[in-house]
Point group: C2
Chain length 385, copies 2
């Protein structure tokens, strides 16, 4: 009966009704003038959200496809790279590098902490001969709910010529990322995060420096060969049939985002982060990461001693129609994650906190009813005043 839950995942996110309506438009020819018009309207909007003048490649794939494209095009077989990892998506970058014969060195920070720019700086200073061709890092690590300081990483890189490749799939438009100002060569984003459209599109921005590197590399993948995307972009096309209905949705999502404005979007995500974190703390639960590195897109909460996180998410879903995410890999059942990115309203956060109070109570964890909600209301009210 209750078809639409309170849907708080770190992607896919809820889709605004305006986007759903846009997606139901009649098909167009992806080699004809209407699709060109559509793409020509989308690209400048994407550039605004990316804060870049760089070229944008629009791929029909999940975000992982965008990550693979970044490795396939900008780092050659046998070349060295550093993967700065703070969670499971760092490992994914490493796995892709392994597939493509990139000699990737894993700089592995403990899950729940952020990347240390000083360590990155020291490592690059050792690289006197500039053998390291690329640094790969997550903007927002979805698995641990940590936001890396990409500006600091960029400063740590300094004049080292390695390309800076940032997986901003779950972070872009939830937290500030200044592609051009911070000198980021390649940025990867995904549709189903703060862009609020259903999954199936990845966006990749590419700097001139990155295109120069790509000239020397013969991408091992045809589907992810970004040079073809660049070439087809000139005529308002993609090399292979794109997910047209999602591009309809993207155009409308960009309208919504630009109406709200990037600064307001960032503020709204910080509000949600603070409502969730303070609300959860008021229930006596522990947060997985420290305040200064906490993600504005998703919050990771430790399950109380003796209660598996999976039980919490199950009861939230079954009894209250609130959808949260569990933990990944060794964090399964240790943490649960409350996504608060994209098309989320403040009162949905409050409702989810209320459901969490009732769920914990049912599982025998002592809570003061209304405690989380009261604190979240206070945060909301203060920001509005």
């Amino acid at each position: 009966m209750w078809e639409n839950p309170i849907f708080l995942l770190p992607g896919p996110t809820q889709v605004p009704p305006r986007v759903l309506r846009a997606m139901s438009a009649p098909m167009v020819n992806h080699r004809g003038p209407k699709f060109k018009e559509l793409l020509d309207e989308c690209i400048p909007g994407i550039q605004k959200i990316f804060q870049t003048k760089n070229d944008i490649c629009l791929l029909t794939s999940s975000g992982t496809g965008g990550m693979e494209a970044a490795v396939a095009n900008f780092i050659g077989r046998g070349e060295k790279a550093i993967v700065v990892s703070v969670g499971s998506f760092g490992y994914r970058f490493k796995a892709i590098c392994d597939k493509y014969g990139v000699e990737a060195e894993l700089m592995d920070f403990t899950w729940g902490t952020a990347a240390d720019p000083q360590k990155v700086k020291e490592r690059l200073q050792q690289d006197k001969n500039h053998e390291i061709k690329a640094i790969l890092i997550q903007h927002n690590e979805t698995s641990t709910a940590v936001l890396n300081d990409i500006e600091a990483i960029s400063k740590a890189k300094g004049n080292h010529p390695a390309l800076l490749i940032v997986d901003a799939i779950s972070g872009l438009a939830a937290a500030d990322l200044q592609t051009d100002n911070w000198g980021i060569d390649v940025v990867i984003a995904g549709a189903q995060k703060a862009f609020m459209i259903p999954p199936g599109l990845a966006m990749v921005s590419v700097s001139d420096r990155a295109w120069e590197a790509a000239e020397k590399i013969n991408s091992q993948s045809l589907y992810f060969d970004l040079k073809a995307y660049k070439e087809f972009l000139q005529k308002g096309q993609t090399p292979y049939t794109p997910a047209i209905s999602l591009v309809f949705g993207l155009k409308e999502a960009l309208n919504i985002m630009l109406e709200e404005g990037l600064e307001n979007i960032f503020k709204r995500h910080i509000l949600y982060r603070d409502m969730v974190r303070q609300g959860v703390k008021a229930l006596g639960l522990d947060l997985f990461v420290a305040d200064d590195i906490a993600s504005p897109a998703v919050t990771a909460v430790k399950a109380p001693e003796g209660i598996p996180a999976g039980e919490i998410t199950r009861i939230m879903r079954e009894d209250y129609n609130v959808v949260l995410a569990g933990g990944q890999q060794h964090l399964k059942d240790k943490i649960f994650r409350i996504g608060h990115l994209g098309y989320v309203q403040p009162m949905e956060i409050i409702a989810a906190l209320a459901a969490l109070e009732l769920t914990l109570e049912k599982l025998g964890f002592k809570v003061t009813r209304g405690a989380a909600v009261t604190v979240a209301e206070k945060v909301l009210k203060e920001r509005r005043d």
Copy 2:
């Protein structure tokens, strides 16, 4: 004002309103029980359309991604394969093989003809040591509107142990393809063809023999590593976030297809083929391919001497809101293509033929008004009686 044209491309196709409505359902967690239920409902339907009991991998990509997955997983670097090509998508298979270091021999048949099973047989008979590991071929070649006889190719292969890999992206469910009966190891299909959903999903069926071959091969692509799709399928998931809204659409499209029944779908496509071919002939135009190899999904028509095909498709679109496809590569402006697969009604074919009469007249090509329509009506009436 007229938002929905008569849309006759060989993909993307028109999307049934039922599918559009299904696609607008609220998002679900791709790691939760609702997506598992959805996938569990889709897979048996896909298997029915593929006429197979083999495993189905559901990829978020265009059909080309499915072709790349087939090469990446089932043919090793340095191994030999034969690409049987009758048009531009044959060349695409070759290009993917080149990327992956597969030693692919191109068996190149003239564009507009079908693959000759006898030649395939002779080539395989020369291969005494069974060095050829795979045969790659199109079911329906979209660029030339030719239907290959895959059953005959399979017979020509006989007991040779090479895998038979068929790109059935534009052919599946428009023409018969008996995956299991004909012993096809890998079949690739695309969403935006006879499945009638927007582009963004590829489906790949994999035989036990193909999985055995895959065991010895380390897929060079992470995104297209089908072993991961097989593993995740067991728990009702895909390894990376799938295009969820398209999977909603797929489920409804499968309902529609199975309600109509495969036999009826095939008959309907043959009806459209014959209406179009006889109608076009009645106008004095030449068809690009012979009747016995003519595709039931798309018809290629030669532009009259002195009239570029691009002018015909432009006027059809601008004056009559009828969307057709042009020719590809060296066939650009030589042919135009009328797609008639998926969600097409007989009267749309008639209307398009009427628009073609008026368009040719405008371009100074002498036609008898009503000639194409009259013949198409006759074909339609005969099949109904």
